[in-house]
């Protein structure tokens, strides 16, 4: 395949960025999108040019590092995959592909396609946990049976990889899907009940402080989420939040 890549290049956080055009040839349909980027970068290095910086690590869709906005969609045109799992067979010979970073006030650009997502970590530091020490001196794991349905729902919410596609896809750059996934996971489990009210208030407060926008129920986040995290989680978080406010 022969393709034309239009890639956002930006030297640093304070520099001005722009779209730069790179023609690329000999791309195989079995390559992943990031392997295609590897080919481009090898060519750039050979020419003495600066390779395109992008975040990536596991290359199997679980670490949540990769974060490209491809042709106007977070993680590109395929569904249920991260950029590293997107394969070039989804594109046609002669295609022009636009590649940009996540764009959100709370995700400042570091370089090229690399953004700073530490705001997600700070939200988690505010309350995304159960306050139990790791001494191992807890009760037996089977002492508290959990209905399978609750456990399964908690698991579904817990599969969030923290990539930020929900924020990048949202016209308001809201982090509600991300935050609600963690709030839901812990709210659905008996172990998480004790701190449930405190947790949702603190996490929502931290989210607002980071400069994420509000949720207006457009649902783009759910569509673009590579892990299929459901909007139900946002509804559940809103209920949790209301409950906590009323009983405060």
């Amino acid at each position: 395949m022969k393709l034309t890549l239009k890639i956002w290049r930006q030297k640093g956080p304070e520099e001005k960025g722009k779209i730069v055009t790179y023609p690329i040839d000999n791309i195989d349909g079995d390559m992943s999108f990031l392997e295609m980027m590897d080919v481009l970068n090898v060519e750039l290095v050979k020419k003495g040019e600066s390779p395109v910086a992008f975040d990536h690590d596991c290359r199997e869709g679980i670490c949540g590092s990769c974060s490209m906005y491809i042709d106007g969609e977070a993680h590109g045109p395929d569904r249920g995959v991260t950029t590293c799992q997107l394969h070039m067979r989804k594109f046609k010979d002669g295609d022009t592909i636009y590649i940009e970073p996540w764009r959100a006030k709370a995700f400042p650009i570091i370089k090229d396609l690399v953004v700073d997502r530490s705001s997600f970590d700070r939200i988690m530091n505010a309350g995304g946990y159960i306050s139990v020490n790791t001494s191992g001196n807890t009760i037996d794991a089977n002492a508290t049976p959990i209905p399978k349905e609750d456990a399964d729902k908690a698991f579904e919410a817990a599969t969030c990889i923290g990539c930020g596609a929900c924020v990048a896809s949202c016209k308001n750059a809201s982090a509600m899907l991300f935050v609600s996934a963690k709030v839901s996971q812990l709210a659905l489990l008996p172990q998480g009940q004790v701190e449930a009210k405190d947790r949702v208030l603190k996490m929502v407060e931290a989210m607002d402080e980071e400069g994420f926008g509000n949720c207006t129920n457009t649902g783009a986040c759910e569509v673009e989420c590579p892990k299929g995290i459901s909007l139900e989680n946002i509804a559940r978080m809103n209920r949790e939040y209301l409950k906590a406010m009323v009983k405060k």
């Binding site: 392997e35 050979k46 290359r59 670490c63 988690m124 191992g136 399964d152 698991f155 172990q191």
Partner: protein, 667 residues
């Protein structure tokens, strides 16, 4: 010459850990506030250790090269975590988990460490459930288990195919709580580039801020490495792209012995290589072998027809299939340990029966399981005379609930639907059992430098059993290291803060900066990946699934040449004082080259076969690994001498007081 003292406590095997714990020195809570600990790595071992040490009251500084501690590669572990809970009532016990792990490791691990691992395993599950880890449950609300290779009980706890993710996010949440309290200072996008030693003790690290390129000095009273394994020496592996050996290797150069580097795990069920562009390989969890049957065609004409696309695997009848694991190992069948399954796949493919164009793939087939589950489900639902299509459709749903994400991953990568046609799989590098030598307290040969998880060598011998890596990472991080480090730190309560103005910090930081300038100034013609791929090929061909003296000697020579060319002709664009992924790679590959050489030297020294280390010169008549207990019942511990091709060899003799050494059999 320093003598290796493993410091195994006295007493019977089942009392060693509890006796040791009750005798170990403690640091009082007020004094813990005066002590700093650096943790390198935020995976299961490093993340768990960080959280536990911070809870105890130490000041913790944690480093990871990823943009968040939640992205450490433990997250990619799929299948499960072992624990001797015996919830299934199928005869499991601490002793059985201990025995299975020693046997699985082909009698090359330390008894006392493995027994401790088995003892604390049950507590890990209690701990994780308390943290909100959503393990799979049965309808009654209790925890579910599955079975893994090399054992005859169901002791594996799991969360679909994302067990590593869920456990890591549990450790990350425990860390988040301590970061929020200010007890852990987190350094994301920072990479350790050297260890600082003051008066013979590990007292800090030199790290590079990957965003600004700044070389930083960080001090502490002890340094803990939880920096993972070195599978990326093969270039293609199931490791993440950034996984590397630099923290461990630099520590080795500073005096820590490196043990059993040749013990690498080649995992039998990975998606085969599709072409030269490939950057990494993807694992298909061992849990799939609970329900998947591995086979190749019995007849060569069928193999050829499949390769030419004239025949589909589903068109080959049962009698024309060779379920070679079931044939060779009737009692364990498809659930033999990984090393055995990998070699068996290689044997069939070497004999010409591989089922893809490159001849390096076998089938992992779910058709029997889909039919069996479908029939069971139809009975449960009271469907009379279900049609075949109804049965298969019900069966596929059961398979989906068990392995849905793995099937989706496979489908997206290969563009072939494993619900309808068998998966193609082939062995790939997955885990490294070798690592820095540690004593019973997890301390390396450098006082004050501790090593946990995959980065150390101690628990898995020559072959790790499935679902044991997560167990070891969390055991070390939550339950072992936080105790044993106290015994060492008890001497440091009056030391006061370690100053980074000490000359040792200045000197080490300068060395790091000089090394970076040296690499940047080569300004050669070839990108880093060129050398990494060449190294990987040598390692895979000569230090991979089968090894012999001739190939190993050739590898040692070839790696020397790669090393010379690397320092002569590598090209790193950009500057050192910016985000520069090519520089990061170059620093990592430089260390992988030297480590690769040590692996070949170690493999050459160990002229027996054991576990994942298969020396062609040492096999039984049936082609199984043949150990030489008389000459090799020891741990190799290599000391750096300044010349990576001439390390000093030390031995820790392995003493088996509780388990009798026998030839491993899974027949």
């Amino acid at each position: 010459m320093p003598i290796l003292n493993s410091k195994i406590p006295e007493g019977s095997i089942d009392k060693k850990w509890s006796n040791h714990k009750s005798k170990i020195r403690l640091v009082n809570p007020a004094n813990k506030r005066l002590i700093d600990v650096i943790v390198v790595g935020s995976g299961l071992a490093g993340g768990a250790a960080s959280a536990s040490l911070a809870e105890l009251g130490y000041n913790v500084k944690t480093f990871c090269f990823q943009d968040s501690p939640r992205r450490a590669h433990s997250i990619a572990a799929q299948g499960g975590i072992n624990a001797a809970k015996n919830y299934q009532g199928d005869g499991d016990s601490v002793y059985r988990l201990f025995y299975d792990t020693i046997k699985g490791g082909d009698y090359r691990s330390r008894e006392a460490n493995v027994h401790r691992l088995a003892e604390v395993s049950a507590n890990i599950i209690d701990q994780c459930v308390a943290q909100g880890v959503p393990f799979a449950r049965e309808y009654g609300g209790l925890l579910d288990n599955r079975s893994f290779g090399g054992v005859l009980v169901s002791r594996t706890f799991y969360a679909k195919g994302q067990t590593g993710q869920q456990l890591l996010l549990g450790a990350y949440s425990a860390m988040s709580r301590q970061i929020g309290k200010g007890k852990i200072k987190m350094y994301s996008r920072h990479e350790m580039l050297d260890l600082v030693i003051v008066d013979g003790k590990a007292r800090g690290i030199i790290a590079r801020n990957l965003v600004t390129g700044e070389i930083q000095k960080h001090s502490a009273h002890a340094v803990v490495l939880g920096s993972g394994g070195y599978g990326n020496v093969f270039f293609l592996s199931t490791n993440a792209m950034g996984s590397n050996v630099t923290a461990a290797w630099k520590t080795h150069i500073k005096g820590a012995f490196f043990s059993n580097p040749c013990f690498t795990q080649i995992h039998p069920t990975c998606i085969p290589v599709s072409g030269d562009h490939q950057s990494k390989l993807t694992l298909m969890s061992e849990s799939l072998r609970n329900d998947g049957r591995i086979w190749v065609p019995k007849n060569m004409e069928d193999v050829l027809a499949i390769r030419e696309g004239k025949l589909k695997p589903t068109e080959i009848s049962a009698e024309n299939r060779d379920y070679y694991l079931e044939r060779r190992y009737p009692s364990f069948g498809n659930l033999v340990p990984r090393d055995v399954a990998s070699r068996a796949a290689k044997e069939r493919c070497d004999a010409g029966y591989g089922v893809n164009k490159t001849g390096e793939a076998v089938y992992l087939d779910f058709a029997s399981a889909i039919e069996r589950y479908g029939k069971e489900k139809a009975q449960v639902l009271n469907i009379d005379n279900p049609s075949e299509e109804e049965i298969l459709s019900l069966g596929r749903k059961v398979i989906e609930t068990k392995y849905g994400n793995l099937f989706q991953m496979y489908y997206k990568i290969v563009d072939d639907d494993p619900y309808y046609t068998p998966m193609q799989i082939y062995p790939a590098v997955h885990y490294t059992m070798g690592g820095l030598w540690v004593d019973y307290n997890l301390m390396s040969t450098i006082p004050g430098c501790f090593v946990a998880g995959e980065a150390n060598f101690s628990d898995h011998g020559a072959n790790r059993l499935g679902a044991s890596a997560l167990m070891q990472g969390l055991a070390d991080g939550y339950f072992v290291l936080p105790y044993t480090i106290g015994d060492y730190l008890a001497d440091d309560i009056r030391t006061g803060p370690i100053s980074t103005d000490l000359p040792e910090f200045e000197k080490t930081a300068n060395e790091v900066s000089e090394n970076i300038s040296k690499l940047m100034n080569i300004k050669g013609s070839k990108p880093v990946d060129y050398f990494h791929k060449r190294l990987g090929k040598v390692m895979w061909n000569n230090v991979g699934m089968a090894r012999n003296a001739e190939g190993l000697n050739a590898a040692i020579d070839e790696i020397k040449i790669i090393r010379e060319e690397f320092y002569d002709d590598v090209r790193i664009p950009g500057d050192a004082n910016e985000l520069n992924p090519e520089l990061e790679k170059a620093l990592r590959v430089a260390d992988l080259i030297d480590l690769g050489q040590l692996m070949a030297i170690d493999a050459l020294n160990r002229s027996e076969s054991c576990g994942g280390h298969f020396r062609e010169e040492s096999q039984t008549e049936e082609g199984e690994a043949l150990r030489d207990d008389e000459n090799f019942t020891y741990v190799s511990a290599w000391e750096y001498t300044g010349d990576p091709s001439k390390p000093n060899h030390h031995k820790e003799d392995l003493v088996y007081e509780n388990i009798k050494l026998v030839q491993r059999s899974y027949k």
